[in-house]
Symmetry: C2
Subunit: 331 residues, 2 copies
Amino acid sequence: MVRERVTMADVARAAGVSSATVSYVLSGKRPVAPETRAVVEAAIEELSFTVNVTARSLRTGRSSLVALIVPDIANPFFAQLAATLQEQLRGLGLHVVVCGTGARRDEERALLAEAVHQRFAGVVITPFRLKQQDFKPLVDAGMPVVISADVSFGPIDLVTPDARVATRRALERVSTSQRRRIAMIAGPRDATGGDPRLEHLRALAMQFGMSLPHELVVRGEHTREAGAAGFGALMSRRYPPDAVFCGNDVIAVGAMDKAHELGVDIPGDVALIGHDDASFASLVRPRLTTIRYPAAEVGRSAAQLLIERLNGRQAPKTVHVMAEFVARSSV
Amino acid sequence: MVRERVTMADVARAAGVSSATVSYVLSGKRPVAPETRAVVEAAIEELSFTVNVTARSLRTGRSSLVALIVPDIANPFFAQLAATLQEQLRGLGLHVVVCGTGARRDEERALLAEAVHQRFAGVVITPFRLKQQDFKPLVDAGMPVVISADVSFGPIDLVTPDARVATRRALERVSTSQRRRIAMIAGPRDATGGDPRLEHLRALAMQFGMSLPHELVVRGEHTREAGAAGFGALMSRRYPPDAVFCGNDVIAVGAMDKAHELGVDIPGDVALIGHDDASFASLVRPRLTTIRYPAAEVGRSAAQLLIERLNGRQAPKTVHVMAEFVARSSV
């Protein structure tokens, strides 16, 4: 896919400009008229021109490492994201290193600082407790950054899920099996951007005439232990739920552990729905019904955005990746 | 655990030597008499003295990153190893970055080179296709390296499993259920050090009067796909096996996929035994019987060896971690 034979001179020829102009478009070091920039960018795209990153890093002193910073390295969703990212970037001589923050803001900040300090080639990150201002040092340092998250962090490249259709389909499915009291085991209150998956579910549930009362929303970390604790808390309510949505699949597996322990039948007594489609979702019994966020597509999109940045794109871009409802046996 | 209040002067006082001598023991920059070294090392251990790595890295220009280099980032065994390593090293201001090589030797070599080039604080690695000479540049550069593997790579710190007792128990279990024809889905022939798990199994099987004939050994990568292909190949033999050992749990899950597809009942028709006890081993149905290699203990041992190296230990050390037979439902 990456054709290193195409040179800057080829691009210049195709665009009818000088090589210097192509270089200015790529580096942003001097202003280029918008029309000229558009012509050059079209030529770049047409020729699949990619800057030889290794050669560039030798010139600029940047390393060939790209940091993928995630809250939970043991969540297979991120492992698959890492694998795809690595595949996409290998041809450019870049290596992906995965950094787990344990969902701690101090770790998240320390790793961002380290990426700048070590002159990494780029950063792809799923923030958990970071705030918008935490990205300022990276932007100031000219570090290419791609965020993969449910919410925006300002003018930074973003890959984000569109889960409206998938969540609607999940609710249709829950509603046809006559469930009325839905619950959610959500992430912690202080996670960045709140919990869009919860807001989303609440808004749609109303349209389906189902309730998502406050006493049926429990919160915790994105861990198996928190999933078990959350499910236990929900089942001890005076009117327990008959359908439980989980913030991610790791939480859902914890909920299954607790259901088994309590003798609660899934899906007989309670329907269970995850988020992400982590690899084990199809391995557990009953097999987990989930709202799938395609890790491979997220990885490809993030790689693409990063490559464009390395090639000099300045304006931030957002890519929406469609989530998908995957019906298995837990509803 | 890491008490930074203890200074080199405290160690010197406790050992009855000068601070300079403590420093020589730590850095290895000048020879120290063996008896003196022993007294100083005892004092270091007693006082839980740990060099302040962050302060040292500022002096030496080393980064605060430790690379964990593994063949398969999606294997939860390595994710748990990474998490434990990070926990153990956090107090020293070190950050673990995980690098997946996809079991490719070129990637393995490139990442080692990058670790030297970037002046990483240390490397923990499970090599897959590397050879002993590939480590020479790291040793020459004075890079602290810990290898986690079944086999030794020369005079380098090693964390290695002792699976003799656990494999014997697995074979006892298989033999009491009247299985006689055992098979193995092993790793690729060109993996470094061959496949000690296979050699091991073969030697022990003979003691149990069971055969492990050549036609019942199939080889492939450590992937789910290779596990499925290997299981399919074994079932198409004229005399198929009644017990199948797998090189790791990822392979075993692939074998389960194929068994399901072929209508082969596990454990009714064929017993299945994994290696590692990756997190999903207890999630699949039937739950996977496996030879557990405790990732958390491996992580703790690797961290300990690395810290000792950072504190100046020169002589290589090997730590044996006991594997354990975990009987679940697939035998």
